[in-house]
Amino acid sequence: MLAPWKNSMRTALVIASLALTMTPGCKKKDVNPFPASGAIAGWQKTDATRVFEAKDLWQYIDGDAEHFIQAGVVSTATSDYTHNGQLEAVVDVHTMSGADGARKILETGLTQDAQKVQLGDEGVQYAQSVSFRKGAYVVRIVAYQATPDGAQALLALAHGVEARLQSTSRRSK
């Protein structure tokens, strides 16, 4: 009844398809926005990147998926991280079909206590989360715990993701 091989095969397929599914529009880009373990001080990448195409997004965020699809999501990539073995966080990188969709997603649900931060084209931060958009990408990093240095740590990780998206954009020009 159980087929453990299915999980490992699925993971392999997901990794293999990462480069393709992270492609906004029709241009092919070799995009990996996820900083490797140790690339950002204190942060370790703790699991394999999972990628969901728009049609499969419900498997990750069932119920929220429709909003992303309406805004033109192409794919969503996600990975877990830990900071100094204490703070756990998840990084979601949504690749939209255009910047308008990215703006729409970022602005959804923003409240007055969101603090603006210098990230990408537009960025906001709360105590336990950082979100920004850059071109057709929307990035959301959420911590599962509240720690005294959590906000700064999240911001550092966000800058790391932004830098990888930036270098990808430069290469593709």
């Binding site: 069932d62 119920g63 649900g109 709360y126 599962y144």
Partner: protein, 336 residues
């Protein structure tokens, strides 16, 4: 143990169910399937100090809270007696009892592992074999979010997801719901204890007792049109759901009042409560009220004003579905 104060409080709210047909303890059937004025009992057990200074509930306090909730619901003073009664009424002795959890919102807002393990522990103390307890959700990642790992060893509590167990080849349908159901529900479990977590939901408005069944089918994404109405009600009207989902112990220890069903820590809130009952319509109606109260407290619009009132709750109560009641006059709300 129910204190005199608790008993008096229960009596004062009209919860003493002598002769009532509405309680699981007496009938085990949905109230609307009976004639007369049977009431659905919903227990909200709270502990304001449950979380202390941390983000996770204190385990001992949680066990005490669970015991208080179950004792109040079953009107049995000893926790093990309460659980023996639940198992007996579900005719699940020596059969598999499923615990349907919810980890869709990631580990930030998933059914608490400490609640799952407390329920499993009490079931074992009531005589249920560990291997006859099966914890499940839609997929492995959701189970991991609940702090669970896959296990098929029958000497221990078993745990595996709907998609790994597989779905029935034959489609089931009721109204707009046309889906295939996991074999965990159709073939393995004699009875299911529903362990959802209370959340705002970007489409349904509220996700809790009824909506938790989306994790039991192969294509939940087909059930989201029109704010999930009537899909939630239609899905739960399929006989196997009606027959096997016997008890709900709703996790309202922490919740998100906006931004759900995903985890949005900026909208996290700690109701510090468990909500227990059989009538999932009554439970959802009650939980909706809690969510609206919290939204009002932080200055947010009602779910109606936000364009996502959970109309599926009324649909579930209508004469076509008869899944329970959303009429406050027919709900005996006991707060302990």
């Amino acid at each position: 143990m129910k204190s005199r104060r608790d008993f008096l409080k229960e009596a004062a709210t009209g919860a003493v169910l002598l002769g009532s047909k509405g309680a699981f303890a007496l009938t085990g059937a949905p109230p609307d399937e009976h004639e007369g004025a049977a009431k659905s009992k919903v227990v909200i057990a709270r502990d304001p100090t449950l979380h202390g200074q941390g983000t996770q509930p204190n385990e001992q306090r949680l066990i005490n809270l669970l015991d208080r909730a179950m004792a109040t619901y079953t009107r049995r003073d000893h926790p093990v007696d309460a659980w023996k009664h639940i198992v007996a009424m579900g005719q699940a002795q020596d059969k598999v009892i499923g615990l349907k959890v919810n980890g869709l919102g990631s580990k930030g807002i998933a059914t608490h592992n400490s609640l799952i393990m407390a329920v499993a522990e009490r079931l074992q103390q009531a005589g249920v074999k560990a291997g006859n307890i099966l914890v499940w959700d839609q997929n492995n990642h959701f189970l991991e979010a609940c702090g669970m790992t896959v296990n098929t060893d029958p000497s221990r509590i078993r745990c595996y997801p709907s998609d790994v167990a597989g779905f029935e080849d034959q489609e089931s349908s009721w109204g707009v719901a046309r889906i295939r159901i996991t074999k965990i529900l159709t073939r393995e479990c004699a009875m299911v204890i529903n362990l959802p977590i209370l959340k705002d939901h970007s489409m349904a408005g509220v996700t809790f007792a009824l909506k938790n069944m989306y994790g039991v089918v192969d294509r939940p994404s087909t059930l989201h049109a029109d704010n999930c109405n009537p899909a939630v009600a239609d899905l739960n009207a399929i006989p196997v759901f009606r027959e096997k989902i016997r008890l709900t112990i709703g996790d309202a220890m922490s919740s998100v009042y906006e931004g759900g069903p995903g985890f949005h820590p900026e909208h996290l809130w700690y109701p510090n409560a468990l909500i227990v009952g059989e009538d999932r319509v009554a439970i959802d109606h009650t939980a909706w009220g809690l969510l609206e109260k919290q939204r009002a407290a932080v200055g947010m619009p009602t779910l109606e004003a936000a364009g996502r009132p959970p109309r599926y709750i009324a649909t579930a109560a209508d004469p076509a579905h008869k899944l329970g009641t959303n009429d406050p006059k027919r709900i005996t709300l006991v707060q302990v």
